[in-house]
């Protein structure tokens, strides 16, 4: 069977990459290739930067409300194409169809939030800063921005940045993950229908060469990245060298603390979703479950009973709770962590290694897995696994669980389940991660709040979406004015 070859979208046109090399894109539920994506080149990036640079002058002069109108039209078009986008997403990424629909919803919410540009991009003024002198700050767009996106949220993550960059008057180049390029390909078909001015928004497929070309290109003013922490750090450093603005979001090792007074029955669905939603491939996924005090045995029993009921399958099946992992290589990596956990002496309560899904024997599945009695120094408790593997680290009290959170290499998110307001306050006050859930298992800020962690989970200062994102995509030009 001949696989379709994906194209780039540059200067308002669909075009072939300059490369002769391609990657296979897989349906992870079937373990079969479904498309080819070009391993793009620096020449592809150069063409996109040229188009985006030429489009910038006209686009920045377009009134903000007119720019917002493109987004209003985009929102309507996304609503019309909602189910199709979600199905493409699940087909190439694997997540359950409801999760894909939820992701598309989150993507659209960013478009909706960005349409508030006429309020959110406003500058500020102050009269009489000295005798007859006034001062005001304009927010001006900067130029061409790039985005390097991950595989776990192929629809949503680029849209934490793209609509804000565009509505602020910048132009944009997106490089989707080469593992899941079809979703943005479908989304860019919608963008094509909307008819943005040529060059305002561009799509370049590829991997390492495209990333480095974006980082090194002098025509690019800033980069938004989401992915692993080592890559996030590299991108942050490269942007420092090349003088670019950067927001670089990395990995996580999120801890979910369960206090002795937690309502386990009420908590269980969101606990399961925290650890097993998207097969654990979220930067907000729970990874360590930390019972505090004498609730541990009861929590382990109830949580493992609930985990056994999780239905694993093709995400396109409406009954599926958990789909496959992204690739065979990643499945092997996750299985490797399970084997390492056994070797390090953790107690395997539920083993997802040998799962078989009827009709999808070649899919990249790992079933729900639970380790109990994990110690903080084990790999299970210190490295990002990014799979459906729960490490239970039993802790004695608040001090111990806070120490556990703050001693990880990451500081993305942390959650607490408790009936005590005092315990919740102490936890959220003392822990380092900057996305906190209280009786919530996935502490995901919506589009109107900033998304991003601290420590090695985030390099840069301005996070994704929220109100602050307009600072990232604009320069505040201050004018001090006096008339004689």
């Amino acid at each position: 069977m001949t696989l379709p070859i994906l194209q780039n979208f540059i200067d308002g046109e669909w075009c072939e990459s300059n490369t002769g090399n391609h990657f296979e894109v897989f349906d992870p539920a079937k373990g079969q290739p479904i498309a080819l994506v070009p391993d793009g080149t620096s020449a592809d990036v150069d063409a996109a930067v040229r188009a985006a640079s030429e489009a910038f002058a006209g686009w920045r002069e377009t009134p903000p409300l007119s720019r917002a109108r493109y987004l209003f039209r985009l929102k309507e078009a996304f609503e019309d194409q909602f189910d199709e986008i979600a199905e493409v997403l699940t087909t190439e990424q694997g997540k359950a169809i409801d999760e894909a629909r939820g992701e598309v919803r989150r993507m659209i919410e960013n478009v909706e939030h960005a349409t508030g540009v006429t309020t959110l991009m406003c500058g500020y003024t102050l009269e009489d800063i000295a005798k007859n002198i006034d001062c005001y700050g304009h927010r001006q767009p900067i130029g061409v921005f790039g985005c390097i996106a991950p595989y776990n949220f192929p629809a949503m993550v680029p849209w934490w940045f793209l609509p804000y960059a565009l509505v602020s008057g910048n132009t944009f180049i997106l490089k989707p993950s080469e593992q899941v390029p079809m979703t943005q390909g479908r989304i860019f078909e919608v963008i094509d229908e909307i008819g943005f001015p040529e060059g305002v928004v561009n799509l370049v497929n590829g991997s390492r060469d495209v990333v480095n070309a974006l980082l090194n290109h002098p025509g690019i003013s800033g980069i938004s990245f989401v992915g692993s922490s080592p890559t996030a750090r590299y991108i942050y450093q490269k942007c420092g060298e090349t003088g670019k603005r950067v927001q670089s979001l990395g990995g996580a090792k999120n801890i979910v603390a369960v206090m002795a007074d937690a309502n386990l029955e009420a908590a269980m669905p969101s606990l399961l979703t925290s650890f097993y939603g998207c097969a654990g491939q979220r930067c907000l996924s729970g990874s360590i479950l930390a019972p505090v005090g004498d609730i541990a045995d009861r929590l382990v029993a109830q949580f493992s009973d609930a985990a056994k009921t999780i239905r694993v399958g093709n995400g396109l099946d409406e009954q599926t709770f958990m789909g496959p992992l992204i690739s065979g290589a990643h499945r092997d990596r996750v299985v490797g962590y399970i084997e390492r956990g056994i070797a390090e002496g953790a107690e395997l309560v539920l083993d997802g290694r040998d799962i078989s899904v009827d009709g999808y024997e070649d899919g990249f599945f790992v079933g729900p897995t639970i380790f109990d009695k994990v110690s903080p120094d084990m790999a299970l408790a210190s490295e990002e696994i990014f799979g459906p593997v729960v490490s239970i680290v039993r802790t004695a009290d608040m001090d111990e669980v806070v120490e556990l959170v703050n001693s990880r290499d990451y500081a993305n998110a942390a959650c607490i389940y408790t009936g005590s307001g005092a315990a919740a306050r102490e936890f959220k006050y003392r822990v380092l991660p900057s996305m906190i859930g209280v009786n919530i298992g996935i502490a995901a800020p919506m589009s109107f709040f900033p998304f991003g962690g601290a420590g090695n989970s985030m390099f840069g200062d301005i996070k994704g979406h929220g109100q602050e994102i307009f600072q990232f995509f604009t320069d505040t030009k201050v004018v001090i004015e006096r008339w004689f």
Binding site: R101, R105, P269
Partner: protein, 143 residues
């Protein structure tokens, strides 16, 4: 089919409206003038119901599953649309009323299963009410 999550519940609601709309179209061509008029209006109304279901499915979904749904299966609400009863309008009317009753039951029960999503539960209850009104209107059509 087990209806274990938000998407499955709303998809089945969409199926109900699609099936019932098609049956009203058929019934419009097989009843008296009064019944035909009622059925034609119901076809248009059903399109709106379906549009509501699809909008709720798009707008109220989250990527986080907030609650699990047990003991809810579509088999309890399956309805055999009988297209061989056009010779007896009374039977056809009763059949339509039963069809509306299925929708009322489904939306009422689905709303009770989705209490964690109050906006969704409200819309489903509203749809149950609309179908109940239609069932009452059918009863008023009886000679």
């Amino acid at each position: 089919m087990e209806l274990t999550n938000f998407g499955a519940i709303l998809s089945y609601a969409d199926t109900i409206e699609q099936q019932d709309g098609a049956f009203y179209e058929w019934a419009a061509a097989h009843g008296s003038a009064a019944l035909a008029d009622f059925c034609t209006k119901s076809v248009a109304e059903t399109k709106k119901f379906r549009s509501t279901v699809q909008r709720v499915k798009r707008e109220q979904v989250t990527e986080m599953i907030l609650e699990f749904i047990d003991d809810f299966e579509s088999s309890g609400y399956d309805f055999a649309h009988n297209r061989e009863i056009d010779h007896d309008e009374g039977v056809l009317r009763e059949h339509l009323a039963a069809m509306e009753g299925r929708a009322v039951s489904y939306y009422t029960d689905a709303a009770a299963k989705l209490t964690g999503l109050p906006e969704v539960a409200r819309e489903l209850k509203r749809l149950a009410t609309r179908h109940e009104k239609r069932r009452a209107a059918l009863a008023r059509l009886a000679p």
